[in-house]
């Protein structure tokens, strides 16, 4: 990252497929062909069984907030314009958990149990998954 900019993903051998899929509007995760566990983020082996046969699958991008916090003091200068912002752990309906911001609406109102849906953020050359409250979901 640069001093001014927010962090932008630099794809590696393990994550290239994932970030490429993001640019195409697909939230991908790994599925272990040996034990059928979903896995996020991408790795070379299944952390559940050690299996090496991992298949990429596409998530529908719908999930539930497992935990959420609101950041008031920015971790770097790049996030100063964003505070306060919400960061959540989201349990996707496919059974994996990931972290992202919940954007749209007051960050303090995001609550555990809220239903959220995927939205995309263009950042530099990359596209990042983010979430927003699903209409009619949550409270």
């Amino acid at each position: 990252m640069t001093a001014e900019g927010k962090p932008v993903p630099v794809p590696t051998a393990e994550t290239r497929h994932y970030w490429t899929a993001c640019r195409e509007g697909v939230l991908s995760y790994q599925h272990c062909l040996a034990c059928s566990r979903p896995q996020f983020y991408p790795r070379t082996l299944c952390v559940g069984c050690g299996g090496a046969r991992l298949e990429w699958r596409a998530s529908r991008g719908l999930g539930t907030v497992h935990a959420v916090t609101v950041v008031y003091r920015p971790p770097t200068a790049a996030f100063r314009p964003e505070v306060p912002y919400a960061v959540a752990l989201v349990d996707l309906d496919e059974g994996f958990r990931m972290m992202a911001n919940v954007v749209g609406g007051a960050p303090e109102t995001v609550a555990i149990g809220d239903r959220v849906r995927l939205v995309w953020e263009q950042r530099g050359d990359a596209v990042l998954p983010q979430f927003t409250r699903a209409e009619g979901g949550g409270r």
Partner: protein, 404 residues
């Protein structure tokens, strides 16, 4: 699990001034802290032949510190890491001695934690490039220690009804203890109301829920019980130790298992098993209070109360001086200074010796008033067993049980 209970002792402790602008190198501070510990033990530099330290690219390694002291080493190692290292290195020191590699080990941590390398969002670390797999969280503005802990704290409040006010008692208690400690950076007593009305940093942490970043160096010296017998101080015996015990996933621990569970869940059977005691036998605890909430989580995970009842435990008066089991009697990371775990071990050693350096005129001789009014005594009467609950990142923990 194998135990070396009572075969090894902590015989010397030392530190430099706690400040927010040392104006010194970590090398100079490390040398002073180790020297103070050597003198405290009644040793000479020739008596020390092992050295361990920990750092995160922010300190001076043993190969510079030992020669400055005139110490010739038979064993040394520089370990990468933060808070959970203290107790882990005490364990490694006993292992190195047990293996016959050396006989007396000085363990130090030297850091300009305020003026050079801050843990949080500002300072040198903020400019470091983001590594590839950090991208599961860092792009979303999750980087500092407080942010990394926040999910666990928020979920604990949701699941167990823990309140900000309950947990703020940790800061209030530790500030009370610090007011009896001439060394402490923050000696002013604060109230629960002060904590919950201070500004937000990251929910549920207010400013006063967070520790005080500090410039400081610290040292503890470990040797065998046989050698300890002839030294200057009453030996403090190592009953049990657990080092860097981890949750199932260290990298993205949120994805695996209950996020309100912390590593003490896995460490407690190791450390209590070696010591042959339980939480009810411990007189004084020393928690890793990088945040008020970490103290609450550790105390419940190690079994000082039931899981989920940490909020009640820390707000009950038990953890205050004069209470049943005082915690962080020096003021800890929240008030004395942030040392990545060392100062709570040093404090417990002094508690067990009965020579805590409070405002009692004859404290060094072990004469105390046990008057816990501001600016007086902080010695716990007849403390026999202490426990340190070390911590660093959310999924790793260490622990150490000592007795006099």
């Amino acid at each position: 699990m194998k135990s070396l209970r009572d075969k090894y002792c902590i015989v010397g402790v030392g530190e430099t001034e706690y400040s927010r602008g040392s104006g010194r190198t970590t090398r100079a501070m490390a040398v002073e802290a180790v020297r103070n510990a050597i003198l405290d033990a009644g040793l000479t530099p020739r008596d020390v032949d092992g050295m361990l330290d920990y750092q995160g690219g922010d300190s001076t390694l043993a190969n510079w510190v030992a020669p400055d002291l005139g110490v010739r080493l038979n064993f040394y190692m520089d370990v990468f890491g933060g808070g959970s290292s203290t107790e882990a290195l005490v364990g490694l020191a006993t292992g190195a001695i047990e293996a016959g590699m050396c006989h007396t080990v000085a363990i130090y941590r030297s850091m300009n934690g305020y003026s050079e390398f801050r843990i949080g969002g500002t300072g040198v670390r903020a400019a470091q490039p983001v590594r590839s797999l950090d991208l599961a969280q860092v792009p979303f503005g999750m980087r500092s220690a407080g942010q990394n802990f926040a999910m666990t704290f928020m979920r604990h409040m949701y699941e167990y009804g823990t309140t900000s006010e309950q947990v703020a008692h940790v800061k209030a208690a530790h500030s009370t203890h610090a007011s009896q400690n001439p060394k402490a950076l923050l000696k002013e007593r604060v109230t629960v109301e002060d904590v919950v009305s201070s500004r937000w940093i990251v929910k549920p942490l207010h400013l006063l829920d967070c520790c005080v970043e500090t410039d400081n160096a610290t040292c503890v010296i470990v040797t065998s019980s046989e050698r300890a017998r002839d030294l200057r101080r009453r030996p403090v015996h190592i009953m049990g130790v657990a080092g860097r015990v981890s949750k199932p996933r260290l990298d993205f621990h949120w994805a695996h298992g209950p996020i309100t569970r912390v590593a003490g869940y896995y460490a407690k059977d190791i450390v209590f098993g070696q010591a042959g005691i339980g939480p009810e036998d411990v007189d004084v605890t020393g928690s890793y209070d990088a945040f008020t909430f970490t103290t609450m989580l550790q105390l419940e995970e190690y079994g000082f109360c039931k899981k989920g009842e940490g909020g009640q435990y820390v707000s009950s008066g038990i953890i205050e001086l004069g209470g049943k089991r005082p915690n962080n009697t020096s003021g800890g990371h929240l008030c004395e200074g942030y040392t990545h775990g060392m100062n709570m071990v040093i404090e417990n050693v002094r508690q067990l010796r009965g020579t805590v350096d409070d405002y009692c005129p004859r404290a060094a001789e072990g004469v105390h008033t046990y008057d816990y009014a501001p600016g007086r005594c902080r010695q716990v009467k007849d403390a026999e067993i202490t426990m340190n609950l070390g911590w660093a990142i959310p999924p790793t923990g260490s622990a150490l049980i000592l007795h006099r």
